[in-house]
């Protein structure tokens, strides 16, 4: 049914030629009969009246208001209004031939000339060049998120010192995750905005914590990644300290969350001093650290794993916040199926967390391609007679190839192989969804399970497969649908990586291993 609707934009001036163009473009593109946008002068009001388009809203408008009338199929009117609004907000096109704005910029400098408002460079080019582009960005006054790796410690220090002098920040190198002003950068999830400010020297660790917070109904204002080496004394936490300064000064941030591998001695002191300066509650978890005496003395709350870190921080801003699904008693692991544990991960921090948690629970020899206390260090391609935790995101697997979170084929092959391996009783994995990640990981896992079943003549069905899904329901695909698919395929899905690790270790030991609860 045809309908006439109007919108009045108060105190918005556009010249008549612009409005004529806009009117014809909007009519054409929205498929309504007519869009007419004019300043609400008396003369123009007469025109609206003569053409039968006058509305009470326009009659009441002032000459410096912009009046828009739409006549057409009522189902299309809303879309037409949205289109007009967008066209009004669009930057005017620069007509000059050859102007910088006409072209796709070929360099950071060119991009900045076309748009001086660009303030963060997201760099994922090869390391040798990435460090130069990062330096260019800092010189231009931009912050840097350096996803690229293969940058030497010395160059990282040069970049971070340079940024420090310029009052800018370098997240990375090898920074996989950040959320700035609600914008997910690189591997990140669509978590809600809120009062938590996070700093992490770890990509998947930040993803896990921000997602757990979101699932408890608590949002994240900023999540700064710093790169895995930032807390080493060689770097001295330059990026972490810069991030803390910003979070300290950000009035929207109510509580701080800090995570990473344990800092170097000197850096740990600097962080403590910085935390004392900032008058906001702070929560910390260092993966593999046991002694938090200094942090506690400084008034920080500490956590034994990423889930606890998220739960404590959530409780600070939303008392009583609970992780959905966490209070359900997990299905008991079948004691008959014990055997060796194979942890196969795409996320380095999640692998490390799982290995650390399982380390105290598993009996017998253990190995990892990460450095984990109590574990033999092996190459990811070595066989090992014992429990094994593999981070497939390590350089040995990714040189010249995309990260397994983006392209999980290799990870799936390893899962299938582990399920066919004699002696293995439990396979533990992470599934990290969200931006940057492969969109069909649960489906690929099920395909891998089917392949293993064929290859093993059905024997792989005897084995236990455990997973956690790091993500939120706003992600695409959403967390719940990926978890459901896995469950339907016989995978035990737990609410967090830490829980999945504990449960897997109990299963591998037939429930008889040392149990640290959870």
């Amino acid at each position: 049914m045809t309908r006439v609707s109007s919108v009045v934009k108060k105190d918005l001036y556009r010249d008549s030629i612009f409005l004529m163009k806009l009117s014809s473009q909007a009519s054409r593109e929205s498929g309504v009969e007519m869009v007419s946008a004019m300043m609400a002068t008396d003369r123009n009001k007469d025109l609206f009246t003569e053409s039968g388009l006058m509305t009470p809203e326009i009659a009441a408008a002032k000459p410096n208001d912009l009046a828009i009338v739409i006549r057409g199929d009522e189902n299309r009117v809303e879309a037409a209004i949205a289109l007009v609004t967008r066209l009004l907000d669009e930057e005017p096109e620069r007509r000059n031939q050859g102007s910088a704005a006409d072209r796709i910029p070929a360099s950071l400098r060119q991009a900045r000339r076309a748009d001086p408002g660009l303030n963060l460079a997201l760099i994922s080019v090869a390391g040798d060049f990435a460090r130069y582009e990062a330096a260019e960005a800092i010189a231009l006054g931009m912050d840097v998120m350096l996803y690229s790796d293969n940058i030497s410690l010395e160059d990282e220090l040069s970049l971070k010192r340079f940024a420090q002098k310029r009052g800018r920040m370098v997240m990375g190198p090898d920074c996989g995750t950040a959320i700035i002003d609600g914008t997910p950068l690189a591997f990140a999830n669509r978590v809600r905005k809120g009062p938590i400010g996070a700093v992490g020297a770890s990509g998947t660790g930040l993803q896990e914590v921000t997602c757990l917070l979101d699932r408890m109904g608590v949002g994240v204002g900023q999540a700064y990644g710093t790169g895995g080496r930032d807390l080493k004394d060689a770097i001295g936490g330059i990026a972490t300290l810069a991030a803390l300064d910003r979070l300290g000064g950000d009035p929207a941030v109510e509580a701080l969350v800090i995570l990473g591998k344990p800092p170097g001695m000197a850096t740990r002191k600097k962080l403590l001093a910085k935390i004392r300066e900032i008058d906001k509650p702070a929560f910390v978890h260092y993966l593999g650290a046991e002694d938090y005496a200094d942090e506690e003395k400084a008034g920080m709350a500490t956590a034994r794993d990423l889930e606890e870190l998220a739960v404590k921080a959530a409780g600070q801003v939303r008392p009583g916040a609970r992780l959905p699904g966490a209070d359900l008693p997990p299905p008991p692991p079948p004691p008959a199926k014990k055997g060796l544990l194979r942890g196969i991960f795409g996320g380095g921090t999640l692998c490390l967390e799982a290995a650390v948690i399982c380390g105290g629970m598993l009996l017998g020899p253990k190995a990892s391609n990460l450095s984990v206390p109590g574990y033999a260090k092996i190459s990811g391609r070595d066989g090992f007679a014992g429990h094994v935790f593999l981070d497939l995101g390590e350089d040995e697997f990714t040189i010249g190839k995309p990260h397994p979170m983006m392209a999980p084929d290799f990870k799936m092959d390893r899962i299938a192989a582990a399920l066919s391996e004699p002696g293995v009783g439990v396979v533990l994995m992470d599934i990290v969804i969200g931006y940057g990640s492969h969109p069909r990981q649960a489906e690929l896992v099920l395909e891998a399970l089917a392949r293993a079943e064929t290859a093993s003549g059905g024997k792989s069905r005897e084995k236990i497969v455990v997973a956690s899904v790091t993500g939120v329901d706003a992600d695409n695909p959403d967390r719940e649908s990926q978890a459901r698919l896995l469950r339907e395929g016989g995978v035990t899905v737990l609410a967090s990586n830490a829980r999945a690790a504990r449960w897997a270790a109990r299963a591998a030991t037939g429930g008889t291993g040392a149990d640290d609860g959870g």
Partner: protein, 475 residues
């Protein structure tokens, strides 16, 4: 972050979805490896960016280059006199001849350069004929060296000898002077290596009739060349390949006094037509002198990576870089990409020659192609859009725009000025030089026109030399 997040993305595009869906404005850069992927150069660029900085992280190089651009913009080149070269150029005795380009030995010179030397030796009466002149030059009886080392420039072969008249241009801001001979006109001329009696007679007429008349016409204080250049830029000249408006504007500036100076002179009409009629490139030599006067104060600025001279001797292309003083970085010239006059082809072309690329250092010529769309047809490109693109591209490698020289067709943006070797090496974009093409055989003259660039290798070597000199001195 106080300002709204706006992202420049370099590299993989898988992360763009998050930016799009969250409504974050972003630009995905069409990235290619800097410095054509050369690890050594990228390392030098990285270290310069991160180490050559002051306590606030401000680049010492950027600061020095800003100073260089500031000096360039503040230049006020004024044509003061026209005098015999030996009167104004230090050390130019009877036995010395100056040439275009970086230093070169007699035996290594190209054909046109050798013939021009022979012509100049005859002109100065050092030799009675070609054979005598050659013998004298081969035996070391004549001293020679680059114009640039004597505050001078000359087009093509660029001959300046003892008695030749030169324009004397003073940079009022800095008090330095620069010199350039008077344009000889077209056809058989010494700048293309011609040296017969008619060439020498033409030069003699310039020396005895034209030069004194122009000099007298300047008695009221001279001609502000920057004003002439800015006006002419607005009239479609870039002042390297096209000097139509500039030559007329120059004549306009001296018309009355010039007329007075030629009053009663039987050659008056010839002199007037020489400046304002027959030779549309008359102003080129004045533009060169003005740019040389403007560029010399940029020499020797610590930490500056700005090119202070680009010049060719018909064999080698050479550049000077501000903080590297008078050291030449040279490599064999490239042949121009050109359109040839009927009957000629690239096979006839001499390698690039002349000091005229000083105008590109200043920001006109090829850098200002956008001001002179008529010129762009010489490079085989048709539209004015192509001309604008040339100039826009040059903004990638220059320190900034010179607003005193605005281009009307490009929203009155200033010409791109002060070429930064860091940017040249990083972007792989070479400065574009508009040039005439000389025949490789002496005396035939110009056979085409087009564009040429310096060889990239000299930019790279200059950058590495710069890095070696200044790295570690910062902080």
């Amino acid at each position: 972050m106080a300002d709204k997040l706006k992202v420049a993305a370099l590299g993989v595009d898988v992360f763009d979805a998050a930016l799009e869906e969250s409504g974050t404005p972003f630009a995905h850069i069409d990235w290619k490896p800097p410095a054509e992927g050369d690890a050594k150069l990228v390392n030098a660029l990285f270290r310069l960016a991160t180490e050559c900085v002051d306590g606030n992280g401000e680049s010492l190089v950027d600061k020095a280059n800003a100073e260089a651009l500031d000096r360039l913009k503040r230049a006020r080149p004024v044509l003061r006199r026209v005098r015999p070269a030996h009167e104004v150029i230090e050390g130019l005795d009877k036995n010395t001849i100056l040439h275009a380009g970086p230093p070169i030995a007699w035996e290594d010179m190209c054909g046109p350069m050798k013939s021009a030397f022979i012509g100049a030796a005859k002109y100065e009466g050092l030799a009675g004929n070609d054979a005598e002149a050659e013998k004298l030059l081969a035996s070391g009886g004549i001293r020679y060296g680059p114009n640039h080392s004597h505050s001078a420039v000359g087009p093509m072969t660029g001959m300046i000898s003892h008695s030749m008249p030169v324009f004397v241009v003073e940079n009022l801001t800095f008090g330095n002077q620069a010199f350039c001979p008077i344009n000889e006109g077209i056809g058989k001329v010494m700048r293309f290596g011609a040296n017969d009696d008619s060439v020498l007679a033409n030069l003699k007429w310039i020396e005895t009739v034209l030069a004194p008349a122009i000099d007298r016409a300047l008695a009221n204080g001279g001609v502000d060349l920057k004003v002439v250049m800015a006006q002419s830029l607005a009239m479609g000249d870039e002042m390297h390949q096209r000097n139509v408006a500039a030559s007329l504007n120059f004549h306009k500036a001296i018309a009355g006094e010039f007329h007075g100076a030629l009053s009663g002179n039987p050659d008056g009409r010839r002199a007037t037509e020489f400046v304002a009629g027959g030779n549309e490139q008359f102003f080129l030599n004045l533009a060169m002198a003005a740019c040389k006067a403007a560029m010399d104060p940029l020499r020797g600025i610590e930490y500056s990576t700005v090119i202070t001279a680009m010049s060719r001797n018909g064999v080698d292309f050479g550049i000077n870089v501000s903080s590297l003083g008078d050291e030449w970085f040279t490599a064999p010239c490239l042949k121009p990409r050109a359109l040839y006059f009927p009957g000629f082809s690239e096979a006839d072309a001499n390698p690039d020659m002349g000091d005229s690329a000083i105008v590109e250092c200043f920001g006109i010529g090829g850098m200002a192609m956008g001001a002179a769309p008529a010129v762009v047809r010489f490079v085989g490109a048709g539209g004015s859009g192509d001309a604008y693109r040339y100039t826009e591209t040059m903004r990638e490698i220059t320190v900034g725009a010179n607003q005193d020289m605005p281009i009307p067709g490009m929203d009155f943006t200033g010409v791109p000025s002060a070429i930064d070797i860091r940017r040249v090496v990083a972007t792989g974009i070479l400065p574009v030089i508009n040039t005439g093409v000389a025949h490789r055989l002496p005396g035939i003259g110009q056979v085409g026109a087009g564009i040429v660039t310096p060889p990239m290798d000299i930019m790279r070597r200059a950058l590495l030399a710069f890095a070696e000199k200044w790295l570690g001195k910062g902080r």
